[in-house]
């Protein structure tokens, strides 16, 4: 509890992966940090007016423009000659990153601002009541992609955000997970030490939206990695420098833990499609442990 930059008393649900992720990121970044936040769960539960959980300067403006606001902050710091001693972080949920905030994010990456952009990926718009976003995985049950006679849930696969960020030619792109705390904090520290725009996407389970017990936050996020559905990768200057290798588990191990995939349990054809996505990831990034 000493040296807290993200304080207790926020109104996140019990077992929230995002509040855990936000605290870990800020602990790694340290107190000389300025944060710009998109609208989303994180903004709502951490700043219940007139209270704030943040112990560092923090600003929220609109749903889409954390990247643009952070760009302004960074430019101002540069003008004042203070940029070297202050880290600027822009952060958002998956909807604020991949859908609504993509244009501002793309602009920030293209202009080359010295900002770390953190995307907390809980795979739907959880704050407004579990609507599908661009990062919602295939066949997931959300309120706007309900399974029924005409559909098995979300019909589109996850948007490849790390690749989209990478295509801007930025120096650092990584994915991380709250299940691997040290790895997450190492990546944040490394990203901050590099000059230029950086993008980190963190897999954060949402017990409410994913329909699992609060105490399963860590096993669920671990299972996503171990079955190959959430590859943990690290790109530096366009080159893949590290991946978390796995002994592959079947995707059912991950799906059966969550209520949002419950409708798939009696449908092996659909599970096969998800298994193909996982196999594809493993092939693409070389995640298999044996293939070293």
């Amino acid at each position: 509890m000493s040296d807290m930059h993200f304080n207790s008393g926020h109104t996140a649900c019990s077992g929230c992966g995002q509040s855990l992720g936000a605290r870990l990121v800020l602990e790694a970044a340290g107190k000389n940090t300025i944060i710009a936040n998109n609208t989303g769960c994180l903004e709502v539960f951490s700043t219940k007016y007139p209270q704030s959980s943040w112990g560092v300067p923090w600003i929220h403006s609109l749903f889409e423009n954390a990247a643009a606001v952070a760009s302004g902050i960074e430019s101002a710091l540069k003008y004042l000659g203070k940029k070297d001693s202050v880290n600027v972080i822009a952060q958002a949920g998956d909807g604020g990153t991949a859908d609504i905030g993509l244009q501002a994010l793309s602009g920030m990456l293209e202009r080359g601002h010295d900002i770390l952009y953190v995307c907390y990926d809980n795979e739907a718009y959880m704050n407004t009541g579990i609507q599908r976003s661009g990062l919602t995985p295939f066949d997931s049950n959300t309120t706007t992609s309900p399974p029924g006679s005409h559909s098995m849930g979300n019909i589109r696969p996850k948007k490849p955000m790390p690749e989209i960020a990478l295509a801007h030619g930025i120096p650092y792109v990584a994915t991380a997970s709250v299940a691997f705390v040290k790895d997450l904090q190492r990546k944040v520290k490394k990203a901050i030490s590099i000059k230029g725009p950086k993008y980190i996407q963190i897999h954060v389970p949402c017990p409410l939206g994913w329909r699992h017990q609060p105490n399963l936050t860590v096993p669920v996020s671990r299972a996503a990695i171990e079955c190959g559905l959430y590859p943990i990768i690290e790109y530096e200057f366009g080159k893949l420098i590290a991946v978390q290798r796995i002994r592959q588990k079947p995707v059912e191990e991950y799906l059966k833990l969550q209520g949002r995939f419950k409708h798939l349990m009696k449908n092996p054809d659909e599970i096969k499609k998800i298994q193909d996505i996982a196999d594809n990831n493993i092939e693409k990034y070389g995640l298999r442990l044996e293939s070293q």
Binding site: S8, G9, H10, C13, S14, Q51, S52, G55, N215
Partner: protein, 87 residues
Amino acid sequence: MFGPLVVKPGSSKKNKTGSWRIETRPKYLQKECIACKLCVAICPEGCVAGGEKNTYHCDYDYCKGCGLCAFICPKKDIEMVKEGSKE
């Protein structure tokens, strides 16, 4: 203009979320502890503290009883007990 919109840092501490616990709460046995700090790192509330071995405890004013610390503890030195029990 922005005056009323700026609030004090860390002022959410006033909000005692411990009242949210409904079923279980963690009990720190403080017997087998090896001070690995995993419980501190994994707490979504950031309400676990401690230093030496067997000194770790959580702040029941804020603990929402999610049970992540009990899950992650490699020595099983944290157990979930029923809320309201005297232990």
